[in-house]
Amino acid sequence: MSSTPSTPTTPSTSSTRKGVRGSTLSFWIFTGPFLVGLVVFVYIPIGWSAWLSFFEARYTVTPDKFIGFDNYKLMLTNGDFTGSLVTFTVFAAIIVPVTWALSLGLALMVHRLRFMKAFFRSVFFLPTACSFVAASLIWKMSVFSGVRFGMMNTVLGWFGVENIAWLADPNPPWYWLVIVTVRLWLQAGFYMILFLAALQNIPPVLYEAAAIDGARPGWQTFRHITLPQLRATSTAVILLLLVAAYQAFDEFFNLLAKTTWGRPPLVELYYTALGDDQDYGAGSAGAVILTLLICMVTLLQGRFLGFGKGEDAR
């Protein structure tokens, strides 16, 4: 992910004893402020959360009634939380491949342009400037508004299609269209930039060699040269997309209200803990379960994709 020369370096071991002591002090001067902040604002809340998960903590975060694993039992047997994991899976299964394909497609197009390249790159990249709040607002109030003056309903109206309630009615689940297009619009340009950078790094020699070998420009060269050359970037993009999908909150929170569907894990936990129920114990238990899940997935992923293996080698 870094374009700087990655010469493997290990912390110098050639220093004298005195030097080591001096460097210990330097180490703490450099890292101290960050580590203190990390402990206070990251580790303590995590620990607090874990502690709360074993208590009956409703309308309080300093509970005194220990209830063991009851909160965990509740979260795992309660269909809402497990349902949110299913929602996440569906969401990720749609958004990850679609964003991948669209951003790669845009990158391929922009890459081949000879003039006005910068202009088109800017156009596709510009939505990244918008926040999810702003984008949700445009989508909800103007593009996919359910009334007659919504843009989609206006356009469909020209073809005699009746107004569609995009968000209220879960059958058919049009709300997925709304949610997926928001994220697509916001993110595609960003990943396009990643692909563009990677495309520029493919040595032209490869294409020339392929042409000499008789590969037709187009699908064949794409399949046999471009795609393999983009493998590293593709893997990174897919991982980033997965992480982003998992952390999805803003658009679900702003677009869907009073539903029992379309709630990914973070939204579900928000409603459990900070919403009307104010059940911090159960919410924290859900958070712990999620964290364990992520750790497991990360470890498995490391095993299969070799991601993070380079760490020790450095």
């Binding site: 402020p33 580590l35 203190v36 902040g37 402990v39 206070v40 580790y43 303590i44 620990g47 607090w48 409703r58 309308y59 309080t60 975060v61 300093t62 909800k140 109030m141 996919f144 508004s145 359910g146 009334v147 007659r148 919504g150 009746e162 309630a165 995009w166 968000l167 209220a168 009615d169 879960p170 059958n171 209200a257 009073k258 539903t259 029992t260 569907w261 900070l274 919403g275 009307d276 129920d277 104010q278």
Partner: protein, 421 residues
């Protein structure tokens, strides 16, 4: 950094560590605006929470009243957004909790000792309040909140559109569904029940001859008639005759005023705006009967002032509530009648409210007294959410109403068990 591995820490050490960080953070020095400095003439200060009222001038009015109070500087937090409950509840956990806040009577706030009993300030004027408003705020003989306004909710309709379609005012839920059908054209939908359709929850249950809870605080909403009414709702939802995904929800008069719908569920507060926009082309009717022999229903919502029992200055907060919502009748009248229309909970004020004495407002007051029912204090936020999920599941998603009600029963019973054992 042994703190990384050690897991036994307590709240105090958390705070000490945090305080240490605060000392070293140069950023901590800038902009220390906690909204609490300053203070009025006496140096004391209070914080009050209000949800954002939609009517123009309301925020200025509340701030004007607060400013007139001499004993303390009162800061108003005007909470916009649809998550007033969340913001209120989470701030009550903290040192920045409001001293005084508006909310609805809910038992869990009382059981957890969050709100203070107000008998000492309410006692002398108790008889001047609408008895229903006292009853809905009473637990074990103690009164916990001062009602500011009563807000009946019912249907508003365009008389001209019903006439044009040749239909009368719906008397049953089936007739309402039929009316929605006949009133729907390619530009106007027949009926608007709110985007999430949860705002008619209580009215639907009552009009089906049921109740949220019975006198022994057991589930009373789970009846065959309620399930049947939910099925009618489902039919209406899928018929294409309902306005859905409107930019402004049911509490805002926009849908009716902009001509998006012919009938809309809304509150009495919106009446002035509707009258101004539509003139005489406006009528009202209660939620029609949804089961044979059941009465039509009107939901008497409203807002009350509560005093945070865990606040820093409970006595002063009580004094302020007494001053504004018991003594200052001029402000109470202004609040109830100058912006939206609300019914004053005090008999003496209601008697002199000339604006509510004639025409459509008088009809609204009549619906309020004839059909109106009030909040049940034992029906708490978790149960409200459970019943809302019944609508989401059975009406919008198409689940069998019985199944959806069963799912709600589990959640409501869990809550009831916590409250009553």
């Amino acid at each position: 950094m042994s703190a990384l591995s050690s897991s036994n820490w307590d709240r105090r050490s958390v705070l000490r560590a945090a305080a240490g960080l605060a000392a070293l953070g140069p950023l901590a020095a800038c902009g220390g605006n906690t909204g609490r400095e300053g203070g009025g003439s006496s140096g004391k200060s209070l914080v009050q929470y209000f949800h954002a009222y939609g009517e123009a001038g309301t925020q200025e009015a509340i701030k004007r009243y607060a400013k007139a109070y001499d004993e303390a500087r009162v800061t108003t937090q005007w909470i916009t957004g649809n998550n007033f409950e969340s913001k209120l509840f989470s701030s009550l956990l903290t040192d920045n909790a409001p001293d005084v806040f508006e909310f609805h009577p809910q038992l869990q706030l009382i059981k957890s000792g969050q709100v203070a009993p107000l008998d000492d300030i309410l006692g002398p004027v108790k008889d001047d309040f609408n008895p229903a408003d006292i009853k809905s705020h009473t637990v074990d003989g103690k009164v916990y909140g001062v009602r500011m306004i009563d807000d009946p909710q019912f249907f508003f309709y365009r008389k001209s559109l019903l006439e044009k379609a040749g239909i009368g005012v719906p008397q049953t839920l089936d007739e309402l569904a039929e009316a929605a059908d006949k009133l729907t054209t390619d530009k106007v939908k027949g009926l608007f029940l709110g985007n999430n359709m949860v705002s008619t929850n209580y009215a639907l249950v009552w009009a089906a001859g049921a109740d949220q809870l019975n006198d022994r605080n057991e589930i009373a909403y789970h009846t065959d008639d309620v399930a049947a009414a939910l099925k009618t709702y489902r039919r209406m939802f899928t018929s294409g005759h309902l306005l859905l995904d409107a930019p402004a929800d049911y509490w805002d008069p926009s849908a009716l005023v902009q001509g998006l719908t012919a009938i809309q569920w809304c509150g009495m507060w919106a009446m002035p705006v509707m009258q101004k926009a539509l003139g005489d082309d406006l009528g009202i009717f209660p939620f029609p009967s949804a089961a044979s022999g059941a009465k039509p229903a009107v939901y008497n919502g409203g807002w009350s002032m509560f005093v945070n029992a865990k606040g820093k200055n409970v006595d002063l907060a009580k004094e302020y509530v007494k001053w504004l919502w018991i003594d200052q009748k001029k402000y109470q009248e202004d609040w109830a009648l100058s912006y939206g229309f609300h019914i004053p909970p005090r008999k003496s004020l209601a008697a002199s409210a000339t604006k509510l004495k004639s025409g459509l407002p008088a009809e609204g007051v009549k619906l309020f007294t004839d059909y109106g029912r009030f909040d049940n204090i034992s029906w708490t936020q978790a149960m409200i959410t459970a019943l809302e999920e019944v609508i989401a599941n059975s009406v919008r998603k198409g689940m069998d109403p019985e199944k959806a009600l069963d799912a709600a029963d589990v959640k409501v019973n869990r809550e009831l068990k916590k409250l009553f054992g």
